[in-house]
Subunit: 340 residues, 2 copies
């Protein structure tokens, strides 16, 4: 007679084994298992995402020794090269660096920031550097952005510095600023002549401004921009006590600037740790993340009911085909969802 | 013996009477009832908001004769004065203008765009102009932004042109661009020297750029900025077929520029109507609105269950007080919401 095994027990044993596979692998610093874990949290399958959350929960520490750095700037400003430059510098000092590149899939900016060949040739084979694209998917519940989860997984795998690369209009910058400790803005020599205009918005987010490509014929222009930015940033109300955003020059080509830049980064982290801003900010970010994911869960919960999904899709189709106006649709949805 | 009245019938009669009160009042162009109706859609009471949707549904037309214009720019650029200048100009031509001012309640920009006295003295008594603040509230379900609803109510009350004033960082600009036909960006003389930097994002949204305060000693500088912007905008991929964003100068002080500006606005609308972009864009915006409101409804639906609300609040408190990490909280929420 075959022995009967409780299916629930069987499942939970399997799940426990799977969890151990991931946590052990990440603790051992396996890049392969790190990639697998990121794939898990990016999955469209709810059970897989819950497994991803179990891993994140299991390995969670309030470890304050890591650095999460957002790097932003318009296409053409030299982000990839600059990031490779930093990553190479840190790796040579024995630090493990992870690069997460977010492509907001904007219709306007078609520049691919991922997987370009030159980049991979330069740093792809470096054992100390891990690169992972993290494309934000737009779906019904909003943007399925799992970059924060990916950061925590990289940290669990022993990466000390996480560089988050982003390009795009305001929305993606704001989103990245909400998951990093330090937000760094790259601009070109010649920038900064006038800061009252439209660009103030994103400049306000910056803790560090880098005048990139400060080399060759652009040297003088870079110094002028540096002065302009420093002056303008000085006028802004400081976001962080005791830290006025710094403006520094960099040349990935001439390999100049990184020592000063990294020293500024370290000073920034010291100041943030001392004032308590660092931990307060990370906690705030955890709360933001939870609230955002909660809203996604609410949408999943609502649409799980077959009838709700059908009503929503029917009304959406009616708007699309001009058979109904959006206010009728919303009124209808309220009345069927909350019958009196 | 008293006559028994079915309470459902009584309620529906009352509701029908209320609906008629609003729709009649709006059709008659009552500014008082318009304000009441906007208050209804901004209410935190679900039933009141549903009543607001009934009004919007009842009065909905795919009327393409109105103009929804978003006006953005940093604090100090002269938005209020410029908007008063346009509104006065249009009112003098016999057009009814509504001004909706959005204050995104940013922690950073403290400038109050609403209710300043000078403004009210200038145009507050003009019968043709309606002004209404529309402050976006931040709450659990996201931003409770009802500006699009307010636009439709103003149109129902016979206002031909709706000017939506906004200030802030990227997020509010993106939100406004999603509910208007034309997005207008105000900058100061001296701006535009360099457009590859951070400001490209918002410039990309602009259909019209106004060099404001182009008067007195700033005249020459204004002309230089105009050239810079015109050149840069020319390089961007056009958002709308046959329309390259125009750059024009304005002086509210010297009352110069409005004729040219309004002519450009009219040309823009003609081109958009001809190409079909106008209606396609409005439909797209209706769909976006519906999807956004749907997500809000899903949150309301989820939190209506007492247990869900309690679990959510408990987990949120635990994160706040460092008793749990956000990944544990989210995993927990998934497991209790979707039990296997």
């Amino acid at each position: 007679m075959p022995i009967k095994v409780n299916p629930d027990l069987k499942r939970s044993t399997k799940e426990a084994r799977q969890l151990t596979y991931y946590t052990d692998g990440l603790r051992a610093g396996s890049r392969f298992i790190l990639s697998e874990a990121i794939t898990l949290i990016e999955s469209e399958d709810q059970q897989k995402r819950i497994s991803g959350l179990s891993i994140l929960d299991k390995l969670y520490t309030a470890d304050a020794s890591t650095k999460r750095i957002g790097i932003s700037g318009s296409p053409g400003v030299g982000k990839s090269t600059f990031i490779n430059y930093i990553a190479g510098y840190l790796a040579s000092k024995g630090e493990k660096v992870a690069i997460l590149a977010i492509d907001p899939a904007s219709q306007k900016t078609k520049g691919s920031i991922l997987g370009d060949k030159t980049r991979m040739e330069e740093i792809g084979s470096n054992e100390m550097i891990y690169i992972r694209p993290s494309s934000a998917k737009f779906e019904l519940g909003g943007v399925a952005d799992t970059t924060k989860e990916a950061i925590h997984l990289c940290e669990a795998a022993g990466f000390d510095t996480i560089l988050i690369e982003t390009v795009g209009v305001g929305q993606s910058e704001t989103a990245v600023a909400q998951i990093v400790d330090l937000f760094c803005l790259l601009v070109l020599p010649g920038a900064g002549d006038e800061l009252q205009g439209i660009k103030r918005g994103i400049t306000e987010l910056a803790d560090l401004v880098i005048i990139n490509k400060a080399d060759q014929s652009r040297k003088e222009l870079a110094s002028i921009s540096q002065k302009h930015y420093a002056h303008s940033l000085h006028l802004l109300r400081p976001k962080i006590t005791n830290w006025t955003p710094r403006v520094l020059k960099s040349s990935s080509l001439e390999k100049r600037g990184i020592e000063k830049i990294w020293k500024a980064v370290e000073t920034f982290f010291e100041i943030c740790h001392e004032s308590g801003y660092f931990m307060a900010n990370r906690k705030e970010q955890n709360l933001n993340w939870f609230q955002k994911k909660f809203r996604q869960l609410a949408v999943e919960y609502y649409l799980k009911k077959e009838m709700n999904l059908k009503t929503f899709q029917k009304l959406e189709t009616e708007i699309r085909s001009d058979r109904n106006n959006p206010f009728f649709a919303m009124k209808n949805l309220y009345e069927t969802t909350f019958p009196r």
